[in-house]
Assembly symmetry: C2
Homo-oligomer: 346 residues x 2
DNA sequence: ATGAAAGCGCTAACAT
DNA sequence: ATGTTAGCGCTTTCAT
């Protein structure tokens, strides 16, 4: 009636092996074996040993799909990045992966691309796995997606930005503040003719616009003509930086400072300056953004804005884990700030 | 008896919403709703429309954990990288993610670290999710892990290397062949005093050793003393490259060519050479490995070895998908080769 | 400390 | 083309 025929053992061990098999081998009920694995304290020494032996002998690996379905905890966290190429978010993804792994969670990675097109399909794939949390790099744009995420009830951490209206939790910093701070920094050091090489993506634009505004406010630039800006398409490259300097110089040969929206761009500018025999920093001051690992080893060393990407990853992981374990997070917004790293290029 | 109490509808829509709810709304059986979503061709136009309407209205997102458990297809592929930082594997991970997403699969990312310690825990976490495939960057080292993977019956693609004994499938290239080819390349261009700046990781070592051997064979180096080598710890940095040149020069001031195990190192060497007034390529030829995006924009442009990382990702995805859909893969080993990109630094 | 029963949300297999 | 039934492998709940 119930069992139509004895189960046929598969040849490969590990495959098709279930908790029942382990339990049978250990001479206990499946649920007891489950406890031995998940809450070892709730089980006697003897049972614990027998179950562990059985696991050892068989090479049993629990099926987390089944476990997740039954317990409604997937131990999976999804991260969404615009693109994995481009080293800016890497540090964050890296530390996120590590912090989560230490707590027994795995990371699922999704690339949204720089257009919105795939975002919806991606979101569906993510929510479908019932992850215990979602980490977004950047603010989620489409209102549809925001609504869906919210409706799903999954804890969400937005990162790398600040907004008055986060979906849920937030670890980021103000791009506007960076733009203003860099403007002041260059102003204090006596720079007068500034320009910008910047990515076309939204966050970069906001840094650049805040920078331009503050420059005007500080009298570093006459309000008439707009501040010279060279726009490039993300992901940024050395070549774009080189070309950026070339074009800016053509329009305005007496520039004395450039703010780039990435260290890569800044490095391109540096190379082009070297090729043209322009001395950095005496003739031209140069600032980047990101403090990539190579920036300190350039010649001259690059002055730049450092974001603690690792800190963002760790904080995001902490947020998610707290919520996954059922605790409330009192401070849902964490401004991690930024640091201007003074080196030789200004 | 059976139902203890009517189910309490949760406030949030999307959460706790199941296929049954959708089916009820559409006035069909759950399985029919399931078919409407998964195999739309197998249902009538009318039903299809009703189900899609219901999905639309409710914001239903199928639970892939449950689906995976029932169907034994998780639509999840795991990728293992030593570290995500370090741009070498990025291209592969990127194209893998994309190719898989296009076919409806998601990528789960695991970092093994450069030591073996975490590999075992990682593998357990991976196998536990019953992924439809595992992509390894590099060959899996520990025999234990190999055995476990093999036992799990999950399709495996090893990448970025060649071995006579792959676990299952393989997309890679010969690091030895690269070392030899670079040696010949430099030899043909008349270089006589060569040295190496290389990472300590295994694949890098194999390139370097093959390079050194071939150099001796070509008479570019007297067999007595070993070829000058500067070893650095991965992940490689510009600073290591700079220091590498400095130290090599101290030991052997008349060097005329250097082979680096990464473009980053090569760039460090280039910077140090500029600082010291050493002309590239006339005084010193320089070769990198990886052809990172910036390498063509350096001054001089970096001659390097290009690996088609995107191709590796695509091929790996194709392998996995083929197997996941139940097809056999006749050619399980794919040597994707490499290309020496001739630019200005040699 | 251990176990029995029920069910998580879905799909495979077998009807109809 | 649609429905019924019986699980997938685990954990929750409620005994004992």
């Amino acid at each position: 009636m119930t069992a139509p025929a004895p189960v046929v053992r598969k040849g490969r061990k590990g495959a098709g092996l279930t908790l029942r098999d382990v339990a049978r081998l250990a001479g206990v009920a499946p649920i007891t074996a489950s406890r031995a694995l998940n809450t070892p304290d709730a089980v006697s020494e003897t049972v614990l040993k027998k179950v562990r032996d059985a696991v050892e002998r068989t090479g049993y690996v629990p099926n987390l799909l089944a476990g997740g379905l039954a317990s409604k905890k997937s131990r999976l966290v999804a991260a969404v990045v615009p693109t994995i190429v481009g080293p800016i978010f890497l540090e964050t993804v890296q530390s996120l992966t590590e912090a989560l792994a230490d707590a027994g969670y795995q990371l699922m990675l999704g690339q949204s691309g720089y257009e919105n097109s795939r975002e919806d399909a991606l979101l569906e794939a993510i929510i479908g796995r019932r992850p215990d949390g979602v980490v977004l790099t950047g603010i989620m744009r489409s209102p549809e997606s925001r609504k869906r995420l919210l409706a799903s009830g999954i804890p969400v951490v937005e990162t790398w930005d600040l907004t008055p209206t986060p979906i849920d939790m937030l670890v980021g910093f103000s791009h506007e503040a960076i733009g203003r701070e860099v403007a002041r920094y260059l102003h204090q050091r006596g720079r007068k003719k500034v320009a910008v090489v910047g990515g076309r993506d939204e966050r970069s634009q906001r840094r650049m616009n805040a920078f331009a505004q503050e420059c005007v406010a500080l009298g570093m630039h006459e309000g008439r003509a707009p501040l010279p800006m060279h726009h490039v398409t993300a992901p940024t490259t050395l070549g774009q930086g080189r070309q950026g300097l070339a074009e800016l110089l053509q329009a305005q040969p007496d520039l004395d400072a450039i703010f780039c929206s990435s260290d890569i761009l800044a490095m391109g500018v540096m190379i082009e300056a070297q090729v043209r025999g322009i001395a950095i920093p005496s003739q031209l001051a140069l600032m980047g953004f990101g403090d990539l690992s190579f920036s300190r080893d350039l010649h001259p060393q690059l002055t730049t804005v450092r974001i603690d990407g690792t800190g963002i990853g760790k904080a995001a992981a902490r947020f998610i884990i707290e919520r996954a374990e059922g605790r409330e997070v009192p401070e849902r917004v964490h401004d991690i700030g930024f640091t201007i790293i003074e080196r030789q290029s200004v």
